[in-house]
């Protein structure tokens, strides 16, 4: 295990203090340009499914099929949720079609002892991490039960407030460092989140502490109706990380192999004391922002269609066929299995979808004060009067 205490960084009085603060402080007068660290850029699978053999991580066939299945399951779950929502059987839902490679790629290299702190459009990654689909359905449908991370899964519940979870994620990573555990945190957020001050503070705290964390910014082009160009005046977005001294890379987020390679490198670097990494995953939100949104108001069909050709599932399918990992029938079988799985999850969800108003006061405190216990008592009596269980 690596020793990652921060004595060198947070040294006390005078130590390690460079005087003057910049190498050229006392140099002659001049006007010049200081070279700055670049941003890496990575794509392994081209849009047509062809692969760069040198960059290919050469995963086992079984692993490749697991990855493909996870992406398909994500897509099928997505579709089922949309159907349920339309039928009035599900709350407002934020679908993720188009972002499956980004989702699966960023968590694939994590181990059980690692952490994951997602934003709300991350059910694909959450399922991979061990969140049962029925639990996610309960969550999106507003049942208390859905919010508890499954036993053994070192995940934070997802965050609805844009960018708000990033600082806690950095704190968990700092906590791992403090405990000298070699666990790494992956946290994700959208292009919109990059505008939040707390995300900037998170990048800075991670950099200053060299915390073992990987930031995955899923640049899907839109924050509701706001284009990324209205959000940020910088391209690639990965440059934002550079400004905080965080090594940064832009990845084709619709190329699951590239996502896996970039995230794996970042995780391993973090695990061995190398500090944080910022990954911009360039992808696209194919569907509505949420089921309450109508994208026709703000974007053209042409734009969406252009991205259909870059579908991460299709691209990876071509790769699998090209490597003879499976055949067309095999791909279809996976699709059918996933559909069956999701339907089974839906049935389990339905059997568990009982509102539990009596739990409203649970977990507000670990040690509930008397005055709140009295409020709870009155509340329960109200439920009794209403005949509510």
């Amino acid at each position: 295990m690596t020793h990652r205490t921060m004595d060198s960084v947070r040294s006390s009085k005078g130590k390690n203090r460079r005087t003057p603060r910049s190498a050229d402080e006392d140099a002659n007068a001049a006007r010049r340009t200081i070279a700055t660290p670049g941003v890496e850029d990575l794509r392994i699978l081209a849009a047509d499914g062809s692969v760069d053999r040198d960059l290919d991580p050469h995963l086992d066939d079984d692993e490749l099929l697991r990855i493909h299945r996870a992406m398909v399951l994500t897509r099928v779950f997505d579709q089922r949720m949309l159907t349920m929502q339309r039928q009035g059987q599900m709350g407002t839902f934020a679908p993720g079609a188009g972002q499956e490679a980004t989702q699966i790629g960023q968590v694939y290299p994590l181990t059980e002892r690692d952490w994951f702190s997602p934003s709300y459009r991350s059910f694909g990654a959450q399922i991979w991490r061990g969140w049962e689909m029925e639990r996610l359905m309960l969550l999106w449908d507003g049942f208390f039960e859905g919010f508890a991370p499954p036993p053994g899964v070192r995940d934070l519940p997802f965050s609805i407030v844009i960018g708000s979870h990033v600082l806690p994620a950095v704190g968990v990573a700092m906590g791992m460092q403090y405990r000298e555990e070699d666990s790494v945190m992956v946290t994700n957020f959208g292009d919109g989140a990059l505008s939040q001050g707390v995300v900037a503070e998170g990048l800075n705290f991670a950099a200053v502490n060299q915390a073992p964390i990987v930031f995955v910014c899923e640049n899907n082009g839109w924050a509701i109706s706001t284009r990324v160009e209205q959000q940020c005046h910088v391209d690639p977005l990965a440059l934002r990380g550079v400004g905080f001294g965080v090594p940064s890379i832009r990845v084709d987020g619709n190329d699951v192999l590239a996502m896996i390679v970039a995230t794996r490198e970042a995780i391993e670097r973090a695990r061995h004391g190398g500090g944080p990494t910022f990954i911009e995953a360039v992808t696209y939100r194919m569907g509505v922002h949420t089921t309450a949104d109508d994208p026709k108001v703000y974007r053209t069909d042409d734009e969406v269609e252009a991205w259909e050709d870059r579908c991460p599932l299709r691209r990876f399918g071509i790769y699998l066929l090209g490597r003879n990992v499976t055949d067309q029938a095999g791909l279809e079988r996976i699709q059918q299995e996933c559909e069956a799985e999701v339907l089974a999850a839906r049935d389990r969800f339905r059997s568990r979808a009982h509102a539990k108003p009596r739990e409203a006061f649970d977990f507000v405190f670990a040690d509930m004060p008397d005055e709140l216990a009295r409020q709870r008592q009155a509340y329960l009596e109200k439920l009794d009067r209403k005949g509510v269980e």
Binding site: G91, A193, S195, V198, S225, A292, A360
Partner: protein, 328 residues
Amino acid sequence: MPELTMVEALNRALDEAMEHDPDVLLMGEDIGVNGGVFRVTKDLQAKYGVNRVRDTPLAEAGIVGTGVGMAIAGLKPVVEIQFSGFTMQAFDQIEQNMARYHHRSRGRYPISMVLRTPYGGGIHAVEHHSESREAYWAHTPGLKVVVPSGPRNARGLLAAAIDDPDPVIFYEPKAVYRAFREEVPDTPERIPLGTAEIVRDGRDITLISYGAMMRPTREAADDLAELHGIDPEVVDLRSISPMDTDTLAASVARTGRCVIVHEGPRNCGVAAEIIARLNEEVFEYLVAPIKRITGDDIHFPYFQTEEHYLPDPDTIIEAVRETVAFDG
């Protein structure tokens, strides 16, 4: 007089203000081509252009802070925070700048600015989308805090808020946004900030509420009159800060009894403030303890159970009956 929803009435008020004063401009997330997630700013960008209806980056402190700067530059920004839960992101800019530049500059830079934001429960929303924390702003010196309860007063109050030379927090009850229509006069109307409205005259008890909770409160009042022989006076506060203490006190001086209804948490909430004022103003008229029907001091529940969290007519009726039955 057309019948409008609250969303339409607010849109009307914004349109009228922009039409009338080129210094009025709007800023917020997705308020432009999208017209806001609740469509309050619908069609205004098409009408007034991208300079006057500005989609911002996703940063609430940024929206409020740059809005303050716009006001310093002499403009009249009306900023939208997409949900009131995200005013927390801008708390520092609201408390330290929006509420203070006028004072800090000794009058040089008045901040004539409105922060509009939908608040409250009742629409089956996700975490952080149902909060009612108007008490934070009422506790903050330098701010005025307004909460309309229906289309007509929403329009009149928003017009007055935009006119006001001071910063106004304008909480819109999202549960009311499209809940009903009301006649709204064709000509612009202004309802002075700081005035409550007696929406039902009564003798036996004063019910005080505001915003979305006016509906269960009025429903309870009607039932009380019809079924329980109790004749409640009902006051719509409309303005949380400043508060129309005189109207409240006069009513309670008449009735001697009072129940207050709001959906925000109880502890240090608006009802506590009203009780404190009534205690100060009409102590000798009070014949029963004033009751609070409020949200409990818990996180707003995940939405399958929110109906049980929100004050409802039955709970109000029961509190009123207890208060009327009280004999100390």
